[in-house]
């Protein structure tokens, strides 16, 4: 028997030894990955000595206001330059932000338009540069430098978005940074367009640019540029938009330097700092006006974009005094091999966007508007994913997280005497559009998207309907693009576009703004295909508000085995202008007509095959029986709703020929419906006895907590649970393997497998 040797008691290292160990570790860091200290903090950096001194010297409010306006105008000027000159559809239609950052890296002033989600996200890479490159003898930060970045794990929405970051020096001293960020799209990922749903690891997601120098002496370095161009499908886009972002930054720099010349660096530094501190203080004041309350909601993602399942985004929002805490614990675990996870910073950015766009649109744009608000999550969850988890479709979790926040916040706002916007139901939250790629009619390899993702239906407000196809939830003042312009560059037509999808409704006293139909077909390329990357074909991705309903579900429809261009040429009367007519009447003989969920991986299409989708409706507000009958008739006249659906839902009686309302009959119908509700409704205590179940249903692949027990997460089955604080891998099988198993089981049942050897 061997003798066990006990280790001698460990010696406590001296202070000198500890310092030596620390120096050794910092000098020999193997890899500078995303820094949790940077990535998990969204509050402002502490005041620096320079800022303290500047505020002591220059704190005149009039000067601060003047400089802030000048800097704001400079940011807006840069924004417009990117919009006017950018090559990416995202640049053209407003998926952009420009901003001026403090020397410590906080985003102090951002462009008024564009993608405000960036406002609390794109400070992270600057802080990484400050912490790691500034004093690194092999890198450094010098006048004339420009840094590029896109990897969401270092602070971004997803890897389609590229930033150009410039330090601004004055008399040899760093005074601030300027940056421009654009949704570029194509980035060399496994599917064209930059946000692949097929990514099963982070290595399928294309360029992963941690922040690095790509500009010296204000010129793009050709060797690095060539490497980047060689890594993506669109070398022209990569080059053009890097130049565009650089020149937008240089214009903002010019405006900042004009201020530095007239007012001096102290005044600029003080303005940037005070702007942020004043906004932060105002946000706290506004939160204090809300009722002390806890609001609970959940939003369901009904797919991973690869398969249908039930993925919960759980949100508990608590306001106490001047603290506001978003608690997302209980949300689904992250998927190890699906792309719908988001890093925590992405979720925070989107909630910040919600406040800046929908709650406090009067506040200066920047990081400060979200700075005092707190967020709690489970580790390795779908809204706070780990470094290794793919996240190229982070939008799915960012957007459903946004909606959970928007739905919860509305319940706080109603009672506030002081309002900065109208209370409203959730806005539609999915990017119902076509992503496309392949070889164009001009022989160029392309990969990007239609700007129709920006046409999301707006939620109904407390005293009026939502606007159809208003704006994306992630941006203000974005556009849905001009398909005619796109057609000069891409080899497909939108045969139907911007035509509202009748009966795809979100009813209420005030209805949600509706979405429009898109029908596309490839025309002039044999190497062209499409993707769709949305959830919500089985379960609406929203909740209604105060008795209003959510939107319905939105599928993808395909018609194959047809060349619709031949039909249009030879038998044009066969073509129909709505999904309902084409799918129900099946006018093209011999064609196949199929429906699918909205997670279509990249699919090469043949000339004249049709892919058809609809943008979604924002949610409804209030009891639909209170809707003004005249508004119902107006919706019929505008083609938003059919007569039959209007009559059966809204209980409106009208003449089918003249649409004249019979007010008395309408009142009677509505009174009867209210009586019917009282008759069929079940008292709550009795209802929950038969409704509540202790676990999720066995027929659904369910992910997340059940009820309020946020400590236990289900992972695909009522029999598979885990402790929320003890993450484990969460693999999904390939949908084709699942389908093959189903079909083989049916063959076995039929005795048709023969004696196939195993």
């Amino acid at each position: 028997m061997s003798e066990t040797i006990m280790p001698s008691a460990a010696k406590t290292p001296s202070a000198e030894e500890i310092a030596l160990i620390k120096k050794f570790l910092s000098d020999t860091t193997l890899f500078l990955g995303p820094d949790p200290e940077i990535m998990r903090r969204h509050d402002l950096m502490p005041r620096s000595e320079d800022e303290e001194e500047a505020i002591r010297q220059d704190n005149d409010v009039h000067t601060t206001a003047k400089i802030r306006d000048r800097v704001q105008a400079g940011c807006d000027e840069g924004f417009e330059m990117v919009e006017a000159m950018g090559a990416a559809p995202g640049a053209k239609w407003g998926d952009v932000i420009t901003g001026v950052y403090t020397a410590s890296g906080d985003l102090a002033i951002a462009s008024a338009g564009g993608v405000l989600i960036f406002s609390t996200l794109v400070h992270h890479p600057i802080k990484f540069i400050i912490k790691n490159w500034m004093n690194d003898p092999t890198v450094g930060v010098r006048e004339g430098d420009g840094f590029i970045h896109n990897d969401s794990r270092y602070g971004n929405v997803h890897n389609t978005d590229q930033s150009m970051i410039l330090p601004i020096f004055w008399e040899g001293k760093l005074v601030c940074w300027v940056a421009s960020t654009v949704h570029e799209g194509e980035n060399g990922a496994i599917e064209p367009g930059g946000m692949p749903s097929m990514a099963e690891t982070s290595f399928d997601e294309g360029l992963k640019m941690s922040p690095f120098r790509v500009v010296e002496n204000y010129e793009i370095k050709r060797d690095v540029l060539t490497f980047l161009q060689n890594s993506v499908r669109e070398p022209k886009l990569q080059y053009e938009d890097m130049k565009v972002k650089l020149f937008a930054c240089l214009r903002i720099k010019q405006r900042v330097e004009e201020t530095l010349r007239t007012d001096g660096p102290q005044a600029l530094i003080a303005t940037l700092r005070l702007t942020m501190e004043n906004v932060r203080a105002e946000v706290i004041r506004r939160i204090r006006e809300w009722p002390d309350m806890t609001s609970r909601t959940y939003i369901i993602q009904d797919s991973t974009l690869r398969e249908n399942c039930v993925v919960k985004i759980n949100c508990k929002l608590t306001k106490t005094g001047d603290r506001l805490i978003f608690d997302f614990r209980g949300s689904s675990p992250e998927f190890t091999n699906r792309a719908t996870n988001t890093v925590l910073a992405g979720l925070k950015g989107m909630i910040a966007q919600m406040f800046l766009c929908y709650v406090w649109p009067d506040l200066p744009r920047g990081q400060a508007a979200f700075a005092p608000i707190e967020v709690i999550t489970d580790p390795h969850s779908i809204v706070d994913c780990s470094y290794d988890a793919p996240n190229s479709q982070s939008l799915m979790s960012i957007f459903t997280g946004f909606t959970a926040a928007q739905h919860a916040v509305a319940k706080f706002l109603y009672s506030c005497p002081e309002k900065y916007t109208k209370v409203h139901a959730p806005t539609f939250n999915m990017i119902n559009t076509f992503i496309w790629g392949g070889v164009s009619q001009h022989g160029e390899t392309l990969g990007n998207l239609c700007a129709d993702l920006n046409g999301m239906g707006h939620g109904a407000r407390s005293d009026c309907d939502g606007e159809p196809a208003l704006a994306p939830i992630f941006a203000t003042m974005a556009d849905i693009g001009e398909q005619e312009l796109n057609e000069e560059e891409v080899p497909f037509l939108q045969l139907v576009s911007k035509k509202m999808t009748k009966d795809a409704i979100a009813p209420g006293k005030y209805r949600g703004g509706q979405g429009y139909t898109m029908m596309v077909a490839t025309k002039d390329s044999e190497q062209w295909g499409f993707m769709t990357v949305c959830q919500g074909a089985k379960i609406p991705p929203m909740q209604g508000l105060f008795g209003g309903y959510s939107c319905g579900a939105y599928p993808l429809c395909k018609v194959k085995g047809v060349d619709v261009y031949d039909v249009l040429l030879n038998e044009p009367d066969k073509f129909k202008h709505s999904i309902a007519e084409i799918m129900n009447e099946q006018p093209f003989e011999g064609a196949s007509y199929t429906t699918h969920h909205m997670g279509m991986g990249f699919e090469i299409s043949k000339r004249g095959e049709m892919f058809m989708i609809s943008q979604g409706a924002g949610a409804g507000y209030g009891d639909l029986l209170e809707r003004d009958p005249r508004a119902v008739i107006k919706d019929i006249e505008e083609g938003l709703i059919s007569e039959g659906v209007a009559e059966s839902l809204y209980k409106v009686k009208f003449d089918p020929l003249t649409l004249a309302i019979n007010h008395e009959a309408t009142r009677a119908l509505r009174d009867k419906e209210r009586q019917d509700r009282v008759a069929r409704g079940v008292p709550f205590a009795e209802f929950v006895k038969s409704w509540n179940t202790p676990k999720p249903p066995a027929h659904l692949q369910y992910f997340g907590c059940w009820g309020d027990n946020v400590g236990t997460l289900y992972a695909g089955s009522p029999d598979i649970t885990r402790d929320a604080n003890k993450p484990k891998p969460n693999y999904m099988r390939h949908p084709k393997d699942v389908r093959i198993d189903e079909l083989e089981a049916r063959l076995v049942e039929l005795g048709a497998m023969g004696d196939e050897k195993k």
Partner: protein, 132 residues
């Protein structure tokens, strides 16, 4: 004093109760979920979001799948007003969506005037904009 909490509900701070704003029915204690005083109906979502394409031919129809999601409709037991809806996974316990700190609410409104008509908030107005 009464506080307007939602489109159809208010809280009577003195009685500490939820009330229906349409018919003044006393729904229940403000220390509990207002839903406990309402009627609930389990709605097939296809009745609200009708299929646009033929459900006999197609798997996905623009209607939510009734096996995957239901709409819980909450009605005032007196006037039948639909106070709230909840898109729920079958069997998922209803949400306690507004848990009010009553003492804090009383303290907050002790320094405010009572609001009898809801404050709607500012209108979005067309600005002059700019052109090029």
């Amino acid at each position: 004093m009464k506080v307007l909490m939602t489109e159809y509900l208010r809280i009577d701070l003195d009685k500490e109760t939820w009330e229906c704003r349409v018919c003044n029915h006393e729904v229940g204690s403000a220390k509990k979920s207002y839903k406990e005083g309402l009627l609930v109906y389990n709605r097939d979502p296809r009745e609200i979001h009708p299929p646009i394409i033929d459900p006999d031919k197609y798997r996905f129809t623009f209607s939510p799948d009734p096996e995957w999601v239901r709409i819980l409709e909450y009605y005032c037991p007196k006037c039948g007003t639909q106070v709230e809806t909840e898109y729920a996974i079958p069997g998922h316990p209803p949400l306690y969506d507004m848990e009010v700190d009553l003492a804090a609410l009383k303290a907050q409104w002790s320094t405010r005037e009572e609001v009898l008509e809801p404050v709607r908030g500012p209108e979005v107005v067309l600005g002059a904009g700019h052109g090029h």
